[in-house]
């Protein structure tokens, strides 16, 4: 026993423990104030699914600023904290610089500071009307005709609108103290209840609501409150006037409620269920029913006189946050959590888990570890140090472990197979490439498998991060894709095929680099690397063929045709053909060792095109809009591959004459 407790092992063990602790720091709620943490856990319904407030906060902030947190007065602020300020204290939130504008022409157009990258709502608000005017005319254009500048204008307009809607998603943004607002509304009810109960021969409540809405024609929002206030001052007194006043007030409540219902980005509570529904059904209905925004609940309490507890709980929570009464805020926040836990336990636990998943930031942490691993393993070649390699290897293992945990977490939350959209395909390609790389490493033990794994793991997670900016990464599935069986067979095998292609392609790059820049690249080393790539290409052909065929069967099952030559199918087919071509050309003697490696690098281009390129086809080749950022990156990736291909095709004596 004792001989294990050496100095070296203690060092190793504590290092390992340190890495794991660093990875899991989200468990301890690091750096997030308690109120924001509570707020982040609350279940809401947005984009058709139940999620925690934290997810909405993160995806919105990502959309605005391309980051999941923001800087306020030089201090880091989490997404939930930011959203809490947006809904509880709009005046302060308006001064936070969260809108990222990179396009210099946009900054010029609105006379914004050239050097700044982030702007606050207050800075942008004065330009809103101009922005709106422009956007309305741009929206009439076909997407392919819009210039890059115009698209950025549209995005900014959309961001500002979303921001304003967020402000009023719980209580109207001009309401300072929510509790007082509720009391005032309650007062209206007490004062004019007799109109609704029909004691004076007036129509019953339901007709009033319909009537009031019909008269208004359209929603005029909060500004009309002012007018009604004036009327109230002038005409207080006589019975008829009072009655008219009452109707006006009631109809104003209904109209503004309609307005805010439509404004609400998220909804806060499921509809009440009938007694006859079984408990089990009630639970599943919590997740699929159409929830109600807070504005609806508020109006309902005014008209029925029966207040939904959520209304008051939210009000006291937000008021306490506004008044910076921390202990009161935490207390009422916890009341709110308890209420959700009691009323909608399934939605509550789902949201809570997802909030935990968000806080852990698993994929971000494994991205960092992959980078460190690649650096360590790369350095271990240069300085020939085994300890550095050992550290790099531990980084790969921990990063891989984290990725597996994250993947399982996602699958549990979503109740779906691993790949459901482009974002998750990027994550999964990384995961599988690392797994394959580790298997290859077991066979060859030459550090290359691990190195390339770490590099691919890092790159794919960067890609995934950039894809996540486009919105909810756990979004609901389109009807056509809604088949867990095919998602878990066809999609998974195709994506594993992608990761194999990248693995062989990156090993090809390693070969070309060592061939031209390496000091000692013996024939034996060359053959070993060649064998690695050959084996992976065989695997790729099998995997990609099976995946493509499963896709064909799925297409036959749902559209009645096995094959339709549509871009996505062709993309998959190109990978299969290229793999088959590589193997046959190798047998025919057309590809020797170096040729085979160059072909493997070309496989990177084929795979990237099939993965992302075909998605961009629809945008139209002849437009400015086509040059969106993803396309630029794809082009850059392909150009790097072309560079290596050309390098690989050069006669060796041109490049390193002094060595050979």
């Amino acid at each position: 026993m004792k001989r294990y407790i050496t100095k070296q092992n203690i060092l190793k063990g504590s290092f390992f423990l340190g890495v794991i602790l660093w990875s899991m720091q989200g468990l301890f709620g690091a750096g997030v104030p308690e109120t924001a943490r509570i707020f982040g856990q609350l279940p809401i319904q947005a984009n058709g699914r139940i999620k925690p407030v934290d997810s909405l906060a993160r995806e919105t902030l990502l959309y605005f600023s391309h980051k999941q947190s923001t800087l306020v007065n030089g201090k880091k602020m989490s997404a939930s904290e930011w959203l809490l300020d947006v809904v509880s204290n709009p005046d302060i939130a308006d001064s936070y610089s969260v809108f990222k504008i990179q396009d210099g022409t946009v900054k010029d157009a609105f006379h914004l500071d050239e050097k700044e990258r982030y702007f606050s709502f207050n800075e942008l608000k004065p330009h809103y009307t101009v922005l709106e005017k422009h956007s309305i005319s741009i929206e009439k254009l076909d997407k392919s005709q819009q210039s890059l500048f115009q698209q950025h204008i549209l995005t900014l307009y959309d961001q500002l609108n979303l921001y304003m809607r967020l402000q009023s998603s719980l209580y109207p943004s001009n309401v300072v103290e929510k509790g007082v607002y509720l009391d005032e509304l309650g007062q209206i009810f007490v004062e004019y209840a007799y109109l609704l109960t029909g004691k004076h021969g007036v129509p019953p409540q339901s007709e009033i609501i319909g009537d009031a809405v019909d008269h208004s024609g359209h929603n005029h929002g909060p500004s009309s409150e002012h007018d009604h206030g004036n009327n109230h001052d002038n005409h207080d007194g006589s019975g008829i006037d009072r009655e008219n006043m009452g109707w006006k007030k009631l109809s104003f409540v209904v109209n503004s409620s309609r307005y805010y219902e439509q404004m609400a980005v998220f909804k806060v509570f499921p509809p009440e269920q009938e007694e006859s529904v079984s408990v089990k059904e009630k639970e599943s209905n919590q997740l699929t029913d159409n929830w109600a925004p807070l504005a609806t609940l508020v109006t309902r309490s005014v008209f029925t006189g029966k207040e939904n507890p959520v209304v008051r709980l939210y009000a006291s929570f937000l008021d306490a946050v506004y008044k910076k009464n921390n202990s009161k805020a935490i207390e009422s926040g916890q009341d709110l959590l308890r209420y959700y836990d009691k009323q909608v336990p399934r939605a509550f636990s789902k949201a809570k888990n997802e909030a935990l998943f968000n806080r852990l930031q698993i994929f971000y942490r494994s991205m960092v570890l992959f980078l460190l691993a690649a650096v360590c393993i790369g350095a271990s070649w240069l300085i020939k140090n085994r300890a550095v390699f050992w550290i790099g290897r531990q980084f790969v293992f921990v990063a891989f472990g984290l990725q597996v945990i994250g993947q399982v977490f996602r699958m549990v939350i979503q109740g779906r197979p691993p790949v459901t959209n482009l974002y998750s395909s990027a994550v999964f390609v990384g995961l599988m490439a690392v797994l394959l790389g580790m298997i290859v490493e077991r066979f060859f033990k030459n550090k290359l498998g691990l190195f390339v794994s770490a590099v691919i793991g890092f790159i794919t997670l960067i890609v995934a991060h950039n894809l996540s900016i486009q919105g909810d990464t756990l979004e609901m599935m389109q009807a056509v894709l809604d088949s867990n069986f095919w998602l878990s067979t066809h999609v998974v095998s195709i994506v594993i095929g992608y990761s194999g292609m990248f693995l062989s392609g990156f090993l090809g790059i390693v070969f070309i680099c060592r061939y031209f820049f390496g000091r000692s690249f013996s024939d034996e080393d060359q053959r070993e690397l060649y064998k690695m790539v050959y084996g992976i290409v065989c695997f790729n052909l099998a995997m990609n063929f099976v995946g493509t065929v499963l896709g064909g069967i799925w297409a036959d099952q749902s559209w009645g045709r096995f094959w339709g030559w549509d871009p996505k199918e062709n993309g998959a087919l190109l990978i299969v053909i290229w793999s088959a071509l590589m193997l046959h050309a190798r047998m025919a003697g057309i590809f020797r060792v170096r040729g085979f490696m160059v072909a493997a690098v070309f496989g990177n281009i084929v795979t990237a095109m099939s993965w992302f390129g075909v998605n961009m086809l629809g945008i139209g080749l002849h437009s400015y809009g086509f040059m969106d950022s993803a396309f630029v990156w794809l082009l850059l990736f392909c150009m790097v591959q072309v560079f290596f291909i050309i390098l690989g095709l050069l006669p060796p004596k041109w490049v390193t004459p002094k060595i050979r």
Binding site: A46, F443, G552, I553
Partner: protein, 387 residues
């Protein structure tokens, strides 16, 4: 002697170089054929690249040149190449199980693809809620139809397919009570209002219309205005007049022959079935508070008067109705969710790709695993030798 020549030919035909050239051409073809879809649409690209022997490019000087081998040509060469390889390399032996399976499967796949492209028919059946349909319509091909009502209950229809009209100059048949002389056929046309003088010899609506050729539609939602200019001759050979009939003309035109009046028009080609389908209910669910579709489904009643079979079927995403060699898929919807469009596919070769792909997939995986096992054995031995 003959055997020697045969085996020499076979060796030549089984050359790996042919394989590589075929795979490379296919790679280029698929790549270009994918990009071409941006400007030509999926249907035309399929016809030009994947259902033809050559891809032709119009030079603009009145003739076309082949620029790429089409999928039919490449496929045929590959079948020959594959058969020769199986012969010369004796891939059917048990020892080469994996290799044999994948290469034989490949032949099956290519043949299956050819059968599907030759014999498969796709059409669409649009039904409104509560209504019944016993035919489906092609979305691409049209037919010329003459309808006559013999009495209150009986109708007679004469139908001539677009394909026939495009390939012939006369339509003559003993069943047809007249002869049609085709003066002009436009697969797609611009229809414009013209002065009366221009078409004075034309009868009916066509008098005030001038027709100009138009390139075929590239988008799925565009319609080709198939148009014909015909002269109708009675059985004695006398002319009854000249008409322009077009898909772009809404109203039917009438011709009277032997005291019987015929309504002529061009409509989507129809495929009739010995059974009927009634749409009872169509539902379109979305995720709460969004426009993201969650599910489309059609509840239909299948009614077969020949077999007496009557049953309800729910057709929804990934769950088609298969009946008497036809498959009915939920394809589209319209008119405020009261109209459901089912895609009807008749593909006699639909089983072949399943079998072929099963063979290839199994062959590939088997071969890979055998090789992997051999390799890892060798590696282990080498390690033992080293230590």
């Amino acid at each position: 002697m003959l055997n020697q020549i045969l085996s020499k030919v076979m060796v030549r035909l089984s050359s790996l170089k042919i394989t590589v050239v075929c795979l490379f051409s296919l790679f280029v073809l698929v790549f270009v054929g994918t990009l071409a879809q941006v400007s030509y649409g999926i249907y035309q690209t399929q016809q030009r690249f994947f259902l033809s022997a050559f891809v032709w490019l119009d030079t603009g000087f009145g003739f076309s040149i082949p620029i790429l081998p089409g999928a039919e040509l490449i496929g045929s060469i590959m079948i020959i190449n594959l058969s020769a390889v199986i012969w010369t390399k004796n891939l059917l032996s048990v020892k080469k199980l994996g290799l044999g399976l994948m290469h034989v499967g490949m032949i099956f796949l290519l043949v299956g693809a050819w059968i599907t492209s030759a014999a498969g028919i796709e059409s669409q059946m649009a039904i409104k809620e509560g209504q019944t349909a016993s035919y489906s319509e092609s979305s691409r091909v049209n037919e010329l139809v003459f309808e006559a009502s013999l009495n209150d209950t009986q109708n007679k229809e004469y139908v001539i397919s677009q394909q026939y009209l495009e390939k012939n100059t006369f339509v003559e048949d003993t069943q047809l009570p007249f002869t049609i002389k085709l003066l002009n056929v436009w697969p797609n046309a611009w229809l414009r209002r013209a002065s009366d003088l221009e078409n004075s010899q034309v009868k009916g609506l066509g008098q005030s219309i001038s027709v100009a050729p138009k390139p075929l539609a590239t988008q799925d939602n565009e319609l080709n205005f198939f148009t014909v200019k015909i002269e109708i001759l009675n059985k004695e050979g006398g002319s009854e007049g000249v008409w322009i009939v077009s898909r772009g003309l809404g109203a039917k035109q009438t011709v009277i022959i032997d005291d019987l009046s015929y309504d002529m028009s061009i409509r989507s080609e129809r495929y009739h079935y010995p059974f009927s389908i009634t749409l009872k209910d169509f539902t379109h669910d979305v995720y709460p508070g969004t426009q993201i579709p969650k599910n489309f489904s059609s509840l239909v009643e299948l009614n077969d008067s020949e077999t007496g079979e009557t049953r309800d079927v729910l057709v929804y995403m990934n769950h088609p109705l298969r009946y008497r060699g036809h498959t009915f898929f939920q394809a589209s919807y319209g008119e405020n969710n009261t109209l459901s469009v089912l895609q009807v596919v008749k593909n006699p070769g639909w089983r072949i790709p399943y079998i072929a792909c099963l063979m290839i997939s199994f062959g590939l995986c088997f071969h890979f695993l055998v090789k992997l096992a051999a390799f890892s054995n060798k590696q282990r031995k080498r390690e033992k030798g080293l230590s």
